[in-house]
Symmetry: C2
Subunit: 172 residues, 2 copies
């Protein structure tokens, strides 16, 4: 079980980045995302993607992060540009226990660094929590996540030109 | 030489996502980014990161994309959820020629699919152009991009807890 915890979400400012965080979590094999601030718009967007493209990726918003982080039973992995290298971390994080992957928006409270079991950096340059999450999950699943079948109503057929989509049914 | 071409940038709406595209391009080893719409704010943000963290990543905004795409001398790679699988593409794209990586925001004009030498998908689920760019560059450089030394004034020292930054000089 892999859950992503998004901290510091400000609906007006972060709507699109947090949406990308959610869609990357889903597409790269996480089971769900928990967001600290309530945001019905993001919940609707993600469940719309589930309806069309399959899977049962969960999204919860308005969940106080500190308590969720403390009470999580499993390994807490905080993605930050200051942490230990991704390659080392992936070797050291236990494979069997549930995983909570924490991604902040702007400044992350200092206690997150202490509450995390692993602070992990995807390179040590400033870039993007969206990219960091994608790279972490890609290394974790060793690229297999990109070939996963979500079993959805709509399926994209890879093609060299244009767009090919199989749509196998009515919207529920 | 690797350049990223960002198409359909709307400064008010896309500021943060396009900034993430730029920072990912820089951190993952591209040499520069070209954005179709003028945006001085993004230019300032990126050159501020160069000043502090090193490298000479280029950013140009307000460049008409269609002409830039047509006149580019090298291989044009368009990242899209509809394209051929990343793994196949990385094997087939010539290694020596300059690369232009095209990332759209919302709907990409149909002619981009035709003008591209390769339409490449990073998985076939909807997710994020930020993640797609990061994964493409990571596969292209086989993970070596994460260990690159940018030679900047500020350097992050990987650490298990907290933040360690070397700051080796005055701001110019």
């Amino acid at each position: 079980m892999i859950e992503v915890l998004r901290i510091g979400h400000r609906p007006a400012r972060d709507k699109r980045i947090t949406t990308h965080v959610c869609l990357v979590a889903r597409a790269f094999g996480a089971d769900g995302v928990v967001i600290d601030t309530a945001d019905r718009g993001i919940e609707r967007t993600v469940s719309g993607v589930n309806d069309r493209f399959g899977g049962d990726f969960k999204v919860q918003t308005g969940v106080p992060w500190s308590r969720h982080l403390r009470e999580f039973s499993g390994t807490r992995v905080h993605l930050t540009m200051y942490g230990m290298p991704l390659e080392d971390a992936v070797l050291r994080i236990p494979k069997a226990a549930p995983l909570l992957i924490i991604v902040g928006s702007t400044k992350v409270p200092a206690q997150v660094y202490d509450m995390a079991d692993f602070n992990v950096s995807v390179g040590n340059q400033p870039h993007s929590e969206v990219a960091a999450l994608a790279l972490f999950l890609d290394r974790w699943f060793q690229g297999k996540e990109l070939r996963r079948d979500f079993g959805g109503r709509m399926k994209v057929i890879p093609t060299a030109r244009g767009k090919r989509i199989l749509d196998s049914g009515e919207e529920e």
